[in-house]
């Protein structure tokens, strides 16, 4: 059987891990297959979970999140016959399949939507843990916003510097209030479980929010402008479908591969005008065609559109 290791946020974080969970469930439903799973509770469990699954013959083993990189690198050598998959992580080994996403591209699109929906010209970004990966989201978002409105102000805050930053709704809520006070009327949360607090507060205070990873539009219908989709579900689903036949490579999924995107459904249909939609679709085509390039923060650890 294959196995999935969810990160500390847990498979119901309404975001990154939940997307992975949905993908796995879809596969299980469609094929009737079974998979092993664990939600990590602590750092020290990472290696133990990897080894335990590998020793019982699970294959492939999917790990969610960048934090699995180090323990993964530690164990892959001991189990050459097992294929490991890292989503968002980075390990170079013959039996590791690496899946990354071009989050900056999806963030660019929702940034455009945010700037168009904003009446104040100020939009906010609340990240989870302050790591380069999340800065990549922020940077793409700022570029998108400024592409629509060069005078737009983008306020960016990070929730913290440790994994608790993924799970701190109170702080998410307070930061949202602070950004509202600074004039933001659209806030983009790329913060895992913390985002729940951001979306909640935005809805309470009557401004718009943007969800992340999964489609979060339904959480507060009519109050979530859109969600930046990161199709972790698709990635997991594809890996599980390939099963033993999976050939380890390095995949980066962007707009072109439909790995990222923005969510449009009944919940937010009224918020997105045809005009907004057209502009975004146009940008999307250009990015896929290579006419517009969105800066990738992790390529040079800098962001032209935003300073942190």
């Amino acid at each position: 059987d294959p196995a999935v290791i969810f990160d500390l946020g847990g498979k119901f974080d309404k975001s990154f891990n939940e997307a992975g969970y949905n993908g796995a469930e879809r596969w299980a439903k469609e094929t009737g297959g079974k998979y092993l799973e664990i939600e990590l509770k602590s750092e020290a469990q990472r290696e133990q979970a990897l080894r335990r699954f590998a020793e019982t013959g699970a294959n492939p083993i999917i790990t969610m999140g960048f934090a699995m990189s180090a323990p993964l690198a530690e164990v892959v050598g001991d189990y050459p016959d097992t294929t490991f998959v890292t989503i968002d992580g980075w390990v170079q080994a013959p039996n590791v399949h690496v899946i990354g996403f071009s989050e900056q591209e999806g963030s660019y699109l929702v940034g455009m939507l945010a700037a168009q929906a904003s009446k104040t010209g100020t939009v906010g970004f609340i990240g989870g843990m302050d790591i380069p990966l999340i800065r990549r989201f922020a940077c793409g978002y700022a570029e998108g916003a400024k592409a629509v409105n060069p005078d737009a102000t983008v306020i960016a805050n990070m929730t913290g510097t440790t994994p608790t930053a993924w799970n701190d709704p109170v702080k998410g809520s307070e930061l949202t209030k602070a950004q509202i006070a600074q004039g933001a009327d659209v806030v983009y949360a790329a913060a895992g479980g913390t985002g729940v607090g951001v979306l909640q507060t935005a809805a309470d205070e009557g401004i718009l929010s943007i969800g992340v990873d999964s489609n979060q539009n339904h959480l507060h219908p009519g109050k979530v402008l859109t969600s930046m989709l990161k199709r972790v579900d698709v990635a997991v689903y594809e890996v599980l479908k390939a099963g033993d036949a999976l050939e380890p490579t390095i995949q980066t999924l962007g707009l072109a591969e439909d790995g990222v995107g923005y969510a449009l459904d009944d919940n937010n249909a009224a918020l997105i005008s045809d005009e907004m939609k057209a502009s975004v679709e146009d940008a999307k085509a250009k990015i896929i065609a290579g006419d517009v390039s969105v800066h990738n923060y992790t390529s040079d650890d800098s962001c032209p559109a935003l300073s942190f």
């Binding site: 119901f12 109170v170 509202i180």
Partner: protein
């Protein structure tokens, strides 16, 4: 930092101080009666979970509140059994209760909701909504005028800003907590029950020989403690936030204890102590790295500040805090 920002930080201070204050008053009743309670944290956590869970299931926040109080009372009962009936070590009992709450909440949450130890997000009926006081600028006015609340506020005069942001717009529990400060003072210093309660924390033998049951008094005290902790926990999950997440009390019970010591076991001083700790939390939450003219205070320092301050207070730099004399010791008549 303009004035409105300051008001907003203070507004946030009030919100964050409320659970501290309720827990602090809870501890005050318990410790004044001679029962140390480091289990405030656990009781709050338990109450937070049960209030959110029941509010989520019934959609009624008041049922949630009752459930929260009930669960906190159950833990109080356990603490009472251990430290009053069986004369156990009160510190150890408190530690055990904290662990119990931390484990049970997640275990039950997972069993009931399968959402990784969380409750579902609460919808409006399941939460304590902010109350708009008359004449305050709030969402209603914003909706009527069709303008943004923050614009309206920034245009308003200073008095109106303070009234609308700081005084108006809190949930009922915030106002209730304020009332509790006065009530606590009154009960403690103006009623027979208060006299006996204070006496039992100082010299239980005096109370006993005066013909009053030490056990009943102490159980009454920790029951009040349980109720207040229950309200504090319910506020966390259904007022401050919209649902339960694991470990959501994150040390507030300990901070409340520190505030209690800082306040030297006095109700009004407890209010100020809790506001101070609330302010520190509000600052740490809102501002990341604080730049003090070139020197950047790291966010980790701000996060640790309430705890550092607690140690400084305990070290007696603000005058010696003398706890109730019989505190922490079980009342033993026969060896």
């Amino acid at each position: 930092m303009d004035f409105l920002t300051l008001v907003q930080v203070l507004d946030s201070t009030v919100r964050l101080a409320t659970p501290l204050l309720l827990a602090c008053l809870a501890g005050l009743f318990s410790e004044r009666a001679g029962i140390f309670d480091i289990g405030l944290e656990g009781k709050m956590l338990m109450a937070a979970f049960f209030s959110a869970a029941v509010a989520a299931i019934t959609g009624n926040v008041w049922f949630g509140l009752l459930a929260g109080i009930g669960s906190s009372l159950a833990l109080s009962g356990l603490h009472g059994a251990a430290s009053i009936t069986f004369r156990g070590n009160q510190l150890i009992s408190g530690v055990a209760i904290n662990f119990l709450a931390s484990g049970l909440t997640v275990l039950i949450a997972q069993s009931w909701f399968q959402q990784g130890g969380r409750t579902p997000s609460l919808l409006s009926g399941g939460r304590f909504e902010p109350i708009e006081l008359p004449f305050a600028i709030g969402p209603t006015e914003a909706a009527e005028t069709g303008r943004r609340l923050s614009d309206l506020l920034s245009e308003a005069n200073v008095l109106q800003q303070v009234y609308s942001e700081l005084i108006s717009g809190h949930s009922i529990i915030v106002y209730l907590a304020g009332l509790c400060v006065f009530l606590t003072w009154w009960v403690l210093f103006r009623t027979r029950f208060g006299l006996r309660l204070r006496a039992v924390g100082e010299n239980p033998a005096a109370v006993d020989t005066a013909g009053i049951s030490v056990i009943r008094l102490r159980f009454a005290a920790i029951a009040i403690c349980g109720v207040l902790c229950g309200i504090a926990g319910a506020y966390l999950a259904t007022g401050l936030q919209a649902g339960f997440v694991k470990e959501m009390t994150s040390g507030r019970g300990y901070i409340a204890l520190a505030a209690l010591i800082f306040a030297k076991w006095r109700p009004v001083a407890a209010l100020w102590a809790c506001l101070l700790f609330g302010l520190l939390q509000a600052i740490a939450l809102r501002f990341q790295n604080i730049d003090l003219g070139g020197f950047v205070v790291p966010v980790q320092f701000m996060e640790a500040l309430p705890y550092i301050l607690t140690v400084v207070i305990l070290a007696g730099f603000v005058g010696k805090a003398i706890p109730p004399k019989a505190g922490g010791q079980p009342y033993v008549k026969e060896r």
